[in-house]
Symmetry: C2
Subunit: 211 residues, 2 copies
């Protein structure tokens, strides 16, 4: 397909596609004349993923390039590719501070994962993100013990089981990986908005006037 | 307590506390001399909430002021105060675009809430946030039908039930509201990091070599 069709099918403007091509987020099309190139379904899929990362995930372009490179790296096994790609996503500030809150948060983060039957991997950036969030709760004096965290962990496990099944419906390994990375990013606002809606519903039931 | 103790007990620096006082995020302490003021437990709680909003929620100071004013507004009932405070939190860009994706996203967002037994409230900013996220999924050609969304909604409902119970443990109505707003913001990175850890665990189980 030509650039115009690629733009139409992806919903991404020609200007943005040209920018992604220049920045190496999208491999060049096959030249068919001095001024025209031909793009295929792989370009379309990769463009959608790049768009998801940059627009929804607010991933900087240089970071998106690393994520995409990890997805495409056929020299390593699929689990490593997925791990590298997801680790390259932004995870917020690393845990910091020497006030004891970080140590307490680390212990809680590891304990909650063990209680859920998961193996804690302190090198995983998502582990660092959890430790940071728990350290803030501890510092501000809000509840943050293992029993309070377990319901979040169980909800996350239920979601992850569903997500892996969804991703397996995508055919080829690279397509599965692309979908895994895109859905990790694109479903974050879905989950956060549903949580706020569920809270509003629950609060209305408990505190609201019955209608 | 004096400013130094307020700083120590909250983990917020004196410079930041003075900034919050100037910006009206924190009411002035009671003057005890020309250079000293006295602060109480209410200042401490309110300071923690302001810190949670600004530092973790990345809520602009002007927005945080509105959220805090809603929490304190004793002229309306508790549910209205909670709704106003949470609605004032950032919710990302409103749904936009005239390509049909927003209409399809609106139908899906309402249907998923009805299937979960919730009453859709299109004026709730969290509803707009869900519609935006779904419109992006639709535009990029990723799966986004009601059946795929239900597991996220059920997970959110389980979390919300737990959260309301947690909040009820806080005593007075204003304290409950402060906790509700703080926990809404502070548990977002907890939930997102646990989801990524659950995905890593699930992916390792399905695709990884057994150890």
């Amino acid at each position: 397909m030509r650039l115009a069709e690629l733009s139409e099918r992806s919903g991404v403007s020609i200007t943005t596609i040209k920018y992604y091509l220049r920045e190496g987020l999208l491999p060049p099309g096959e030249r068919v004349s001095a001024t025209q190139a031909e793009y295929d379904e792989e370009h379309l899929r990769r463009l959608r993923l790049a768009r998801a990362l940059v627009q929804v995930g607010r991933v900087p372009v240089a970071t998106a390039r690393k994520v995409l490179a990890a997805v495409e790296d056929e020299s390593v096994d699929q689990l490593t590719r997925l791990g590298t790609a997801v680790s390259a996503l932004p995870h917020g500030p690393a845990p910091s501070g020497a006030d004891g809150a970080v140590d307490a948060a680390r212990r809680t983060a590891e304990e909650v994962q063990r209680r859920l039957g998961w193996r804690p991997v302190p090198g995983n950036p998502a582990h660092g993100m959890l430790v940071s969030a728990l350290a803030t709760l501890i510092r501000l004096g809000y509840p943050c013990d293992v029993d309070q965290l377990l319901p979040y962990g169980r909800a996350a496990a239920a979601i992850a089981g569903h997500e892996i099944a969804l991703i397996e419906e995508f055919g080829a390994p690279t397509t599965q990986l692309e979908a895994a990375v895109a859905l990790t990013v694109l479903y974050e606002p879905v989950l956060l908005s549903l949580r706020r809606l569920a809270q509003a519903e629950e609060a209305t039931r408990r505190f609201g006037t019955q209608t």
